[in-house]
């Protein structure tokens, strides 16, 4: 099943996060995959050598930009310098889209450099939707927001996380990056059903899927991106593509980064799941 998103953004197929330990491997081997996701912040201040590197890869691969510093949930004004640099990088790289997270990273001029949870209330919805629209105006392209992983939730929330995401996407007319590992982690941590979380997210808003590994701490799970995708997340991925259709999918691995071969093999698993889904449908 192929579900067209409302933004007519392409299905890029299967991609990987571009991480520094693999730069040489990638330039040398030019691996067979469709696209790379960069962490936007790694290139906002980068010198010309990095831009040359991106330009070379851009000839063979599509790109998407994924940020961690937009702080869309913050009550501080949007950072103009950050947005200006983000726009300049997007204009240079021409990514298929630009994404960040539903979270805040700091308030009152401080920055924790973490993706912190926000209360899911009507007040938050109005506030964040207005900021998303502001960002989209600056970037001149739809913003894609990722569901966060979280370990605590605000008692005052009046919407569930997937309800909030769905409402935000509608209100701000933005797209969504569905991190299936984050769904699994947050659903476990907050005692909700992961599949009903997926069911609540509107398919026509999803333009990308993230897969990653996490750490099991018994009474809670931590989104660590430091290991292989566990079976339970693969199962949720299978459910997601069955329910929502195949969209651009990538594997994130940011700590204890393995060899490129190991990472590439992990991506092949995602392909296998998707192909199995196509065969089942046929």
């Amino acid at each position: 099943m192929l579900m067209r998103n409302r933004f007519e953004l392409p299905d890029l197929g299967f991609g990987l996060g571009l991480r520094a330990p693999h730069y040489d491997d990638i330039l040398r081997e030019k691996p067979e995959l469709s696209w790379f996701e960069i962490i936007s912040e790694n290139f906002l201040h980068a010198h010309a050598g990095y831009k040359d590197f991106l330009s070379e890869l851009r000839r063979d691969y599509a790109f998407v930009m994924h940020g961690v510093s937009l702080s869309i949930g913050s009550t501080d004004p949007l950072n103009k310098e950050y947005l200006t640099r983000l726009k300049a990088l997007a204009d240079f790289l021409q990514p298929a889209w630009v994404s960040d997270h539903l979270c805040f990273t700091g308030v009152l001029g401080k920055n924790t450099h973490d993706l912190l949870p926000v209360p899911y209330t009507e007040e938050a919805l109005k506030h964040i939707a207005a900021r998303v629209r502001q960002v989209q105006e600056v970037l001149e392209r739809p913003l894609v927001l990722e569901n966060p992983s979280s370990y605590v939730s605000f008692a005052g929330s009046t919407l569930s996380e997937p309800e909030f995401l769905a409402a935000l996407a509608q209100e701000a007319d933005c797209a969504l990056l569905l991190d299936v590992n984050n769904v699994y982690v947050s659903a476990f941590n907050h005692g909700i059903d992961a599949k009903s979380y997926i069911d609540t997210i509107p398919a026509d808003r999803i333009v990308q899927i993230h897969l990653a590994g996490h750490k099991d701490c018994g009474e809670y799970k931590i989104d660590t991106h430091d290991r292989e995708v566990p079976d339970a997340v693969w199962e949720l991925y299978r459910y997601t593509i069955a329910a929502k259709g195949q969209v651009s999918t990538m594997v994130e691995w940011d700590e204890n980064i393995p060899s490129f071969e190991t990472l590439y093999a992990e991506l092949q698993k995602a392909k296998t799941f998707a192909q199995r889904k196509v065969r089942e449908a046929a």
């Binding site: 912040e41 906002l44 201040h45 980068a46 010198h47 010309a48 050598g49 510093s69 702080s71 949930g73 913050s74 009550t75 950072n79 310098e81 950050y82 805040f104 990273t105 700091g106 308030v107 009152l108 001029g109 401080k110 920055n111 924790t112 450099h113 973490d114 912190l116 949870p117 926000v118 209360p119 209330t121 007040e123 938050a124 506030h127 370990y151 605590v152 939730s153 605000f154 008692a155 005052g156 941590n189 907050h190 005692g191 701490c217 018994g218 009474e219 809670y220 931590i222």
Partner: protein, 248 residues
């Protein structure tokens, strides 16, 4: 409680490690303190890793325990204010300078400059045309490249770093205060030791004096300086140009 207040309380719990206020706003879940610790400790770990990444030579010199304590003291006193994590470790050198002996401070200053120059803005190197006459050079005003730091530094720190980076067991030499230029050229951060007269001349030039006037002023300082200029000036300029000291 307002949305803004909820966010502020959450952030404050991370900075202060005091969770009572924020816990009252959260859903009751098993191991709530441990869950808050994911944020509280994760914040500190992330910043400590950023500092360690920029100051490997200092960490080798101080040892992991002393370096860890110093980094944690910095983190507790200095919440990040920039959207880029790369900016956070840069002022750590100043913090080290207030708390550690001079040699450690010199190492920190050098590593801070290297980290900062790596991320500084791009600027194109000045290249004189092939037929550029020396009289034209004398009236030129030259400006330092954007990604550069010129500084006073203990050369023993530079040598210690060189040995450490070369995989040797670094030895601390006797202090030898001099000057250094840390500069990014052709996408690499390079370190240039400057002797006294070279530094004095370069300072005048990048301070805005025309090259000829700067050379004249240094030559008048002392017969020794004049002799050094006569011997080295051409070599310096050749190196300054080939190593991209100046911007267009």
């Amino acid at each position: 409680m307002s949305y803004a207040q909820a966010l502020h309380n959450f952030q404050q719990a991370i900075f202060s490690r005091q969770t009572e206020e924020i816990v009252s706003l959260l859903d009751a879940r098993p191991a709530l303190d441990a869950r808050m610790d994911v944020y509280i400790e994760g914040y500190r770990l992330r910043l400590a890793q950023a500092i360690a990444s920029d100051y490997p030579t200092l960490e080798h010199y101080l040892g992991a325990e002393r370096m860890g304590a110093l980094a944690m003291a910095y983190i507790e006193s200095t919440p990040p204010v920039s959207y880029t994590l790369d900016a956070y470790p840069i002022p750590f050198a100043g913090f080290v300078g207030q708390r550690e002996e001079a040699f450690a401070a010199s190492l920190a200053t050098l590593e801070s400059a290297i980290a900062e120059v790596f991320w500084m803005e791009e600027s194109e190197a000045f290249q004189p045309p092939a037929n550029f006459a020396s009289e034209h050079m004398l009236v030129l005003r030259l400006h330092l490249r954007a990604a550069a730091h010129i500084m006073e530094l203990d050369r023993a720190a530079e040598e210690y770093m060189r040995q450490f980076r070369a995989g040797e067991a670094p030895q601390r030499a006797v202090a030898d205060i001099g000057h250094m230029l840390v500069l990014r050229h052709k996408n690499e951060v390079r370190r240039h030791v400057l002797n006294h007269t070279e530094y004095a001349l370069l300072s005048r030039i990048i301070g805005g004096e025309p090259v000829g006037a700067a050379v004249g002023a240094i030559a008048e300082e002392s017969p020794e300086a004049c002799a050094v200029l006569a011997r080295e000036l051409q070599n310096w300029f050749a190196r300054w140009i080939s190593e991209g000291f100046f911007r267009r």
